[in-house]
Symmetry: C2
Subunit: 255 residues, 2 copies
Amino acid sequence: MAEASRRRATAALRSPGAAAFSPLYQQIKALLLGSLDRGEWKPGEAIPSELELAARFQVSQGTVRKAVDELAAEHLLIRRQGKGTFVSTHHEARIRFRFLRLAPNAGEPKPAESKIVECRRVRANAEMTRHLELQSGDTVVAIRRVLSFSGTPTVIDDINLPGNLFKGLTAELLSSYSGPLYGLFETDFGVSMVRAEEKLRAVPADAEFSALLNVAPGTPLLRVERISYTYADRPVELRIGHYVTDQYHYRNSLN
Amino acid sequence: MAEASRRRATAALRSPGAAAFSPLYQQIKALLLGSLDRGEWKPGEAIPSELELAARFQVSQGTVRKAVDELAAEHLLIRRQGKGTFVSTHHEARIRFRFLRLAPNAGEPKPAESKIVECRRVRANAEMTRHLELQSGDTVVAIRRVLSFSGTPTVIDDINLPGNLFKGLTAELLSSYSGPLYGLFETDFGVSMVRAEEKLRAVPADAEFSALLNVAPGTPLLRVERISYTYADRPVELRIGHYVTDQYHYRNSLN
DNA sequence: AAGTGGTCTAGACCACGTT
DNA sequence: ACGTGGTCTAGACCACTTT
């Protein structure tokens, strides 16, 4: 077995054309990512044990471990000593707060009340086509919702999703569902948001936003533009949020 | 040697009073953090090789490696194959962009021009006392600077530092220095900013800010409150920034 | 050639959770 | 008792950099 794996690494290393050398554990990691992307293991489920994976890929447990370690560091997998290694799911508080950065200035976070304002299927405009890597003419699902805390409207989210990935998504489904949106996407559409890039600005509230958020026109809002990515690192959500930040703030850690 | 280290781990594990078990590599990591905090190795310098550290701590190279791996993942150390492992320094482009989140909406980042507006030593107010864990009556260095890009004022930073750690810090020194502020703190005062927590809000420009930033009063500004920490995880900077975000935005990654 | 970090293996034992 | 992940060791070899 030692020989087999060494040969494999050496083969990759010495491949003519010098296709960039990649260590065995990176190759394993890519294979695991592929399985996750194909839904071989669903969010919340356990993946095979390290020894099983080592046998499957013909490498040592240590090599599998290093691949899994990296995926766990990226929060795609969660290790539980004595139980196994599990696929991350948005149906958990811990992971949710990685994507929900709004926190109250004082006191404990309260659950948000969500109201779906609209949910339409429209042709992608140029911005969506570019950000979501669509073809011109493709459709997107355009959702607008308002989040309130203790009855105070605080967030307007404009969410755009590729139409072909979210076929049965309707306002009714969204309204009937309580819980994290990404949890719904994950279980009902097999789309897992794994990471995101955001751009933040301060902008004045226009007439429409000021009415929805119950603030004066011109009130400074925190505008958050987010692009979310799946396992395969494909963009699948363009979300534009506008936050009222008198009682809440956006928290961030620099490491 | 194997015996020695096993005994050490076992001793820690079985210590009466059950002082929380911590694995050997975590103990090593803590020792390394202590050395960094004491300035035993300065930013930019190489730390001893893994084999040297293994000998010093009487553990295997693999255990040292795991400790160093974690510190490298936190960007406190930087590994360079064939050369050694080095202490991170703010005198490098890569690390700077971890703390400088403002990016132009279009085009390449340009270097900022910094103008020191004031630098005074004052008594810490309640807010500073709390955030910087000071005693009431302690002094802080209060700095205000304006950052401009291509002549356009874009950022006002109000920076507060514990007076006792920054004794020789004057407006002249700040003005004569070009380069990252954290680089100056690091080399001249032995204070390394290692991580930070930020809170973001959108606020209207008041008269003072509108004059300094050359925008209309009430213009939405992105307000960024930052607390920075050193190796020992002690807060040593309270910084409040106000950003004009028409040509620039704050970028963030959710992982 | 020598020294550094990087990868990979094999095996032992520990801690945790379930059966 | 058993299976899981977690820690630690020892040794081999590879890749990169400097001498």
